[in-house]
């Protein structure tokens, strides 16, 4: 995994501070080309991993990267699935079972029909889950997806319910079908590590809010620090700036002082911000390595 990963919240009107800013971003990025322009800047700055939701519009980005494979030789996607809003909305309308049925591929593939139908009939979630994963992965066909993530809303929902088998099913399908590493995004890192341990997922890749002020770090910053020191996992930090509450330099320095954090995922919309984040990351990684 690279040290810096590029996130996609800024492209889809997600902003934890202000609805106005979120709307301005949604307007700015409504043309896919404007997203591609920013991705190009990041890529040319050496940030080659795009950690992105399986949002419909990502399919257009994927198609673009596929079409220009020479330009994007080292471009990596880390898909984060599912795009939860569509399922939540469908669940409101059709209930849990109805929602699942709606998103199963309906091309009449024998395999899909068997896996889906049998699985639904036997109340066995394995078949349905793997089908849903395949449906979400379709847009990345032919592209490099070395790590595939389960989104935090789903991870934390399953974690809360105690639906731990789902993590195992996800992990094994992602490995066997896509040759990828499973990743998990969560707001409840200490609790998730225990659950992943229980289902035998070793040294997992886990992406969580990790920042100096403990913003959205459920279980508390001490439990996170303890996990970083004592547990075997590959940590990706998100929300390192705590939605702007921590100055960039202070935020990055704090991250770099914790060598157990393998990567940082960040979002930015301008060359200046991308460049300065990378520069800070390089500077403090070097500084602290020397120290």
């Amino acid at each position: 995994m690279d040290r810096l990963l590029f996130g996609d919240n800024q492209f889809f009107g997600v902003n934890h501070m202000s609805e106005e800013k979120a709307r301005a971003q949604a307007m700015r990025f409504q043309n896919t080309q404007s997203i591609i322009d920013v991705l190009d800047v990041a890529y040319d700055e050496g940030i080659r991993t795009f950690m992105c939701t399986t949002h419909d519009r990502i399919a257009e980005i994927a198609a673009h990267v596929r079409a220009k494979s020479a330009r994007y030789r080292d471009f990596l996607f880390y898909p984060c699935m599912p795009y939860a809003h569509k399922y939540a909305n469908a669940m409101t309308d059709y209930g849990m079972l109805g929602a699942v049925k709606r998103f199963l591929p309906d091309e009449g593939l024998l395999d899909a029909a068997m896996r889906g139908g049998m699985s639904l009939a036997k109340k066995d979630i394995e078949g349905v889950t793997t089908l849903l994963i395949d449906a979400e992965m379709k847009m990345f066909q032919g592209l490099k997806t070395p790590v595939i993530f389960l989104q935090n809303v789903v991870v934390d929902f399953l974690l809360g319910l105690g639906f731990r088998d789902a993590f195992r099913i996800f992990a094994s399908h992602v490995k066997s079908r896509y040759g990828a590493e499973p990743g998990f995004i969560t707001m409840n890192l200490p609790m998730l590590l225990d659950a992943l341990d229980e289902v035998g997922i070793e040294n997992p890749i886990v992406c969580a809010n990790i920042n100096k002020i403990g913003f959205r770090m459920c279980g508390g910053i001490d439990a996170y620090e303890h996990a970083l020191r004592e547990r075997q996992f590959r940590a990706i930090a998100m929300s390192v700036f705590a939605s702007g509450a921590i100055a960039p330099e202070e935020a990055i320095r704090w991250i770099c002082e914790r060598p157990q954090i393998k990567s940082v995922v960040f979002g930015a919309s301008s060359r200046a911000n991308i460049r300065s984040t990378r520069a800070l990351m390089d500077q403090y990684s070097r500084l602290l390595r020397v120290a």
């Binding site: 309308d93 979630i125 929902f157 105690g162 789902a166 959205r216 459920c218």
Partner: protein
């Protein structure tokens, strides 16, 4: 440990279940839903004890409290059953469809000394709490007008019907969406005396409204306007906001932030100043034990559990407070059915021409 049963496993029920189960002070002793498939899958994979009938769950074991997240029409009877068994109750919003039932249930819960709470989660959003605090301090002086809004992408095309699209079941934009801004207005200013100008129109739904607009009139002369539309795809998800105008300033708040403008004459709270002040939800929100979809959802359940543990009946979202919102909803339905009352041809009374002496008197409010 508080022993809790969870009734109703739709979107809200499952969401509550996912948050309450990891709560360190709570033990989920049973869950129920008539959809046998869902409960079977849950039982198989999560080890939860499941039921398809509410009474069966209540009969099966000892419990202290229930969370009820069933279609709104069912709330009244289920809440009564639970209270009669001396269980503390958390019920999803809107509380009940007939405000008389709401009164009775509030009385029953109070008489039996049971914690009673309704899931108006916006009262647990830091920005909206800040509005409440500022109003209680009298920061913006005398409030004259309020605008409370909610928009979001729920019904975006004509489609099949579920309980959420039937007003008789407690569905529709009024019960589902407008209840939230109305409830905030009730929290801030109490119960209005009258409602007027209610317009409820369809955009795509066949059996219910997709838009709700109306005015609430309060005893002291202030007014509140409600503007709600759940067929607005320009919003990524539900967005609720309030604007409050006072003689000494104005407040705007949504899920993310609270912006306050204070002018001369304002009671300036500590840390505030004249002019603009912005406070962010992210800065004001205390951490929660478990996060799924927003701190407020976790916080309201934690609050419920804590009230039970502390034997504390006073509740920010009591049945009684939710019944105020139910009454306003009922009044808006009645008002919309009456329709507008003033004809286009109606003549406004012509103001009396002031005598020349009036030039010597200062206008109201001018010192």
């Amino acid at each position: 440990m508080i022993r809790v049963g969870v009734a109703g496993l739709g979107k809200m029920g499952l969401s509550h279940l996912a948050m309450i189960r990891p709560h360190p002070g709570v033990n989920v002793v049973g869950v129920c839903d008539p959809a046998g498939y869902v409960v079977d899958v849950l039982e198989k994979y999560t080890g939860l004890r499941t039921f398809t009938r509410f009474e069966a769950m209540l009969d099966a074991g000892e419990m202290d409290a229930v969370l009820i997240s069933t279609p709104s029409r069912l709330h009244s009877a289920m809440v009564r059953t639970a209270l009669e068994r001396d269980l503390h109750v958390f019920c999803e919003k809107p509380f009940v469809l007939d405000p008389h039932d709401g009164e009775e249930l509030a009385n029953l819960a109070e008489r039996r000394g049971l914690v009673n709470q309704v899931g108006y989660h916006y009262r647990f959003v830091a920005a909206f709490r800040e509005v409440k605090r500022l109003l209680e301090l009298g920061a913006i002086g005398q409030v004259t007008h309020v605008q409370a809004e909610a928009y979001g992408p729920v019904v975006l095309k004509p489609k099949g019907s579920t309980w959420r699209t039937q007003r008789s079941e407690g569905g529709g934009c009024l019960y589902d969406y407008a209840a939230h801004p109305l409830n905030l207005v009730n929290w801030y200013f109490g119960e209005p005396q009258r409602v007027g100008g209610t317009a409820m129109s369809r955009v795509f739904s066949r059996d219910t409204e997709d838009e709700v607009y109306g005015t609430l009139y309060f005893e002291d002369g202030k007014t509140a306007q409600i503007s709600v539309n759940w067929s607005d795809e320009s919003y990524r998800k539900m967005s609720t906001s309030v604007k409050v105008w006072g003689t000494a300033g104005r407040i705007y708040a949504d899920r993310q932030e609270c912006q306050t403008f204070l002018r001369d004459g304002a009671v300036v709270p500590e840390g505030y100043r004249l002019g603009w002040n912005v406070r962010y939800t992210t800065d004001m929100t205390p951490p929660v034990w478990f996060y799924v979809r927003g701190e407020e959802y976790s916080a309201q359940l934690d609050y419920f559990a804590n009230r039970i543990a502390a034997g504390e009946l006073d509740n920010v979202n009591s049945f009684r407070s939710a019944t105020v919102t139910d009454r306003v909803i009922a009044a808006m339905i009645a008002d919309a059915e009456t329709g507008p009352r003033t004809e286009r041809s109606a003549r406004a009374p012509i103001p009396k021409r002031p005598g020349w002496m009036s030039w010597l008197r200062p206008a109201a409010g001018v010192k």
